[in-house]
C-alpha cells in the first residue's frame, strides 16, 4: 500500500505544479488583457472622468439590499433635523 501512496503523492505533486501553473498563467493573462483593454478603451472610447476624482466606491459584497432604504431614512432624518433646528 505504501507504494501506492507514493504514487498518489507523486500524482498530487504533479497536479499541484500543473494547477498552480494554470492558475498563475490564467490570472497573469488576465492582468495583461485588463491592461490592454484599459488602453484600448482609453484610446477608442474614452470616458469623461467624474468631476471629483475619487477612489472606487467600496464593494458591497453581501446584504446591501437595504442600502436604499437606509439612504432614504438618512435623507429624511437630515431634513427633519435641519427643520427642527431652524
Amino acid at each position: 500500500m505504501d507504494s501506492s501512496i507514493g504514487e498518489l503523492l507523486l500524482s498530487g505533486a504533479k497536479l499541484m505544479l500543473i494547477g498552480m501553473g494554470i492558475v498563475y498563467l490564467f490570472l497573469a493573462l488576465l492582468v495583461w488583457v485588463i491592461g490592454l483593454n484599459s488602453k484600448l478603451l482609453q484610446r477608442f472610447s474614452p470616458e469623461p472622468l467624474p468631476q471629483l476624482a475619487h477612489p472606487a466606491p467600496p464593494a458591497q459584497p453581501v446584504g446591501d439590499g437595504d442600502g436604499n432604504e437606509a439612504e432614504i431614512v438618512a435623507v429624511i432624518s437630515a431634513a427633519i433635523h435641519r427643520h427642527l433646528n431652524n
Partner: protein, 375 residues
C-alpha cells in the same frame, strides 16, 4: 396498552442512535456559532438546522420522500451553488482589481492553499485509519479556496459523501479568518512592510467594468471550459450589475433569489451531516487540513506580495496579499485592520479588495483544474 407501546416506539427517544445524537449536537453547535458568535450565520444557521432535522430519528426528513431529500436535488444538480455564484457576481465590484490588476497575482498565489492541501490530504493516507481517494483529496483541497459555493459545487461533483464536512469546514474557517490570518501575516512581514502606503487607486470607467466579465468569460471558455459553469454564472451576475440596463434582475439575484437559494442550500448541505458520513476519522483530517489550507493560502499571498515588491517600484503592502484567499470581504477587512495597527491612517481596505475578488476568480480557476484533471 398496545397503543402506548406503539406510541413509545414512535418517539425519538426510543429510536435514537448515538450517532444521531452526536450529529444533532453538532447541528446545535453550528446554530450556536451562527447566532452567538456570528460565524457566517447566513449559511451556518440553515446548515445547523439541516443537520438537526436530518438526524431526528424516525422522521426521515433527509430520506427519500423527505423535504431535505428534495431540496438536496438542487445541490446534486449544481443549480443551487451556481445560482449563488451568479448572485455573488452581482454583488462584486471589480473596480479595485481593475484599477490595479497586478493584485490578480496575489489572488493566484493564495490558491497554493488549495493545491498544498491536496498534497496534505493525500499524505494523510499514511495515517492508519484514514483513507482519501484522489477525488476526496481534491474535494477537500477546495476548502483552501475559501469560497463557499465553489467548495460546495466541487465537492458535490467529486465527493458528495464528504460534502457536509467540507462545507462546514469551509464556512467555519471563513468565519475564523480574523483569528487565523493575523498571526501569520505578522510573522511573515516586517514592521516597515506593514507601514507601506499604497497609491490611490485610479478611477475605473463603466466600460471597463462592463467589458471585464465578458473577457473573463471568453478566456474561460477558450482555456478552461470545466470552470465555465462557475465563472459563466459569476460573469452573468457581474454583467447584470455593471451594465445598468437590467437593474431589476441584478437586484433580485443579489437579494430575494440569493436568500431563497441560501436557505435551501444550507438546509441541503446540513442534510449531508449524517452520522455515517461525518463521524469518521476522515472528518478530523478534513478539519485539520482546512486550517492548514487557510494558513497556507494566507502565507502564499503575503509572500507573493513580498516577491512582487522585489521586482517593482510600485510597492504593495504585503498585508493585502492575505486577502487573496477570498473569504470576501472578511479577509480584506482583516488586512485593513492589521495595517491600521501599525498606522491608523493607512487605509488598505480598497487595495485589499483587489486580491480579494481576484481570489474568487483564482479559486474558480483552480476548481476548473480539479474538475478537468481529477477523474
Amino acid at each position: 396498552m398496545e397503543n402506548f407501546i406503539n406510541l413509545w416506539l414512535s418517539t425519538g427517544l426510543s429510536n435514537v442512535l448515538w450517532g444521531q445524537l452526536v450529529m444533532m449536537a453538532v447541528g446545535f453547535l453550528l446554530i450556536y456559532l451562527a447566532v452567538r458568535k456570528g460565524f457566517e450565520p447566513l449559511l451556518l444557521l440553515p446548515i445547523g438546522f439541516g443537520a438537526v432535522l436530518s438526524n431526528i430519528p424516525v422522521a426521515g426528513i433527509a430520506e427519500e420522500g423527505g423535504l431535505l431529500a428534495y431540496l438536496y436535488f438542487g445541490i446534486k444538480s449544481g443549480v443551487f451553488p451556481l445560482l449563488i455564484f451568479m448572485g455573488v457576481g452581482a454583488m462584486t465590484d471589480f473596480g479595485p482589481m481593475l484599477a490595479n490588476p497586478k493584485t490578480l497575482l496575489l489572488g493566484a498565489a493564495a490558491q497554493f492553499g488549495i493545491f498544498g492541501t491536496l498534497l496534505g490530504a493525500l499524505a494523510l493516507n499514511l495515517v492508519p485509519g484514514l483513507q482519501f481517494t484522489f477525488k476526496d483529496a481534491a474535494a477537500i483541497a477546495i476548502i483552501g479556496g475559501a469560497d463557499g459555493p465553489t467548495a460546495i459545487y466541487v465537492a458535490s461533483r467529486l465527493a458528495p459523501d464528504l460534502l457536509g464536512a467540507i462545507a462546514v469546514a469551509a464556512y467555519s474557517y471563513m468565519a475564523l479568518v480574523p483569528l487565523i490570518q493575523p498571526p501569520i501575516m505578522r510573522a511573515l512581514t516586517t514592521p516597515e512592510e506593514r507601514l507601506i502606503e499604497m497609491a490611490q487607486l485610479r478611477h475605473v470607467g463603466k466600460q471597463e467594468k462592463i467589458v471585464f466579465p465578458l473577457v473573463l468569460l471568453i478566456l474561460t471558455a477558450a482555456l478552461l471550459p470545466s470552470a465555465a459553469p462557475l465563472i459563466g454564472m459569476f460573469c452573468m451576475g457581474n454583467l447584470m450589475r455593471e451594465c445598468g440596463v437590467v437593474e431589476r434582475l441584478s437586484k433580485t439575484s443579489q437579494n430575494e433569489l440569493m436568500n431563497i437559494v441560501t436557505i435551501f442550500l444550507g438546509l441541503s448541505v446540513g442534510s449531508k451531516l449524517s452520522a455515517h458520513a461525518f463521524l469518521r476519522p476522515e472528518t478530523l483530517g478534513i478539519l485539520v487540513l482546512g486550517a492548514i489550507a487557510f494558513s497556507f493560502g494566507t502565507a502564499s499571498g503575503v509572500v507573493m506580495a513580498k516577491i512582487m515588491n522585489k521586482f517593482s517600484d510600485n510597492k504593495v503592502n504585503p498585508l493585502i496579499g492575505a486577502a487573496g484567499v477570498s473569504a470576501v470581504p472578511m479577509s480584506a477587512r482583516v488586512a485593513n485592520k492589521v495595517g491600521q495597527e501599525s498606522n491608523p491612517h493607512n487605509f488598505l481596505l480598497m487595495h485589499a479588495m483587489g486580491p480579494n475578488v481576484a481570489g474568487v476568480i483564482g479559486s474558480a480557476v483552480a476548481a476548473g483544474v480539479l474538475l478537468a484533471l481529477v477523474k
